[in-house]
Chain length 217, copies 2
DNA sequence: CGATCGGTTGATATGAATCAACGTGCGTGG
DNA sequence: CCACGCACGTTGATTCATATCAACCGATCG
């Protein structure tokens, strides 16, 4: 698949080193563990989540190439969340002290960080609204639209479709419903000619309808 | 009620002007409206929310004395949310440009802002987990505990109770359930001797049990 | 070849929404 | 000063969305 990855300022300007390639399914950060490093995802998909004591997990967001694990980890020395590789990923880290030094020296990085922080918060707020106020169907539609935008910002879209490596269980963990119910709703979308999702690939057949369902406005 | 308000660094160091007192129920910020100012709440309670087209609203968080409307509004010139006064409030604003100038000049303010950002994000993540993975009962317990901590950080607690100006509808809008269901669950808490909530006052009778229900760990 | 994983589908159970009625306190205007 | 309306909370009956439990299928892999 042809892919034009557009690097963020954070990725371009901050001069990262210590590249690592990590197989899918690996947990690359654990809540409450100390880390002297700030990490970016350079390739592949990961997700940030909370593990609850009852065995459930809430996926807080998905990390795409160019994303910091979280803007907050620039200031916080403990991880406040866990991170897991969804696909094979490349990540690279920089000592927090070094990052902060660069931050002070290069206003472009500060701007990029502030912008990342705004985007993160905005996304969290919208997800909060989706989880609190919308039906399962609407939440899934919202998630699809949200991820489509993020994918589109990073790569060329091929054959009217999107590379989309989420399992139904991941969708379930992100929008707070059961994977069984996710299956039913995805089937519904397929039957109604709204979208098809299979085998790591998302094809949207009726965008206006998907937006009608998923848009928060 | 005796109250020792502890000002945050943001409030103390940034030298705010343009104080305004605002009656309860007033909307003090509207999503998508431009604002040249950054605002802090100096007294009273407010809440930040999204208004959905179907008439529902999601309360994103509650604003207590010392809180910025949001750390993101330091960088973003449009409000990404709306804000409403829960009680009578005092707010004060500063031109964004001026705030940014002070930010550059005084590292203490930068630290305070970064810390506010971390706290905000962490709170949003936890709320996400609560909304996605927990029952109505657990969500309400979580909200009570969360607010108790924030109140306790700001003022002396009186008679084993907390000043707590939320209406049941506000709780409903925050945790994503119906106000009648909130009523049932609050009654349940009362019947089970866990907590009493009435008339702007919260009294916790069985903290361990409330924590068992509401804690995310 | 069996085991495991991801997805599908059906039957049933349950938590929460909805609809509705009612109570109580409070402010306002007659 | 009373009467009315209104906001807020409570409670019951019913409905509905989603969870749970269970069986099954196809693909993949050791």
């Amino acid at each position: 698949m042809e892919k034009r990855v557009e690097e963020s300022h954070l990725q371009r300007d901050a001069n990262w080193q210590h590249f690592r390639t990590i197989p899918p399914g690996t947990q690359v950060a654990a809540r409450n563990r100390l880390s002297e490093h700030v990490f970016v995802v350079c390739g592949g998909w990961a997700f940030r989540f909370f593990q609850l004591p009852n065995g459930r997990r809430q996926i807080l967001n998905f990390l795409l190439p160019g994303d910091l694990f979280s803007a907050t980890s620039v200031f916080e020395e403990k991880f406040l969340f866990s991170v897991n590789a969804l696909t094979e990923i490349q990540i690279s880290g920089m000592r927090r002290s070094e990052f902060q030094a660069r931050l002070a020296a290069n206003p472009k990085i500060l701007t990029a960080l502030a912008s990342a922080c705004v985007v993160e918060t905005q996304a969290a707020d919208e997800m909060l609204a989706a989880l609190g106020q919308r039906s399962a169907e609407e939440r899934i539609a919202y998630l699809l639209l949200h991820l489509m935008q993020r994918i589109a910002a990073r790569s060329v879209i091929r054959e009217q479709g999107y590379y989309f490596p989420l399992r139904q269980q991941n969708i379930a963990d992100a929008v707070g419903i059961t994977s069984v119910h996710v299956s039913r709703i995805i089937s519904l979308f397929r039957d109604r000619g709204i979208a098809e999702l299979s085998d790591g690939f998302l094809r949207v057949l009726n965008l206006p309808e998907l937006e009608r369902l998923g848009s928060l406005n």
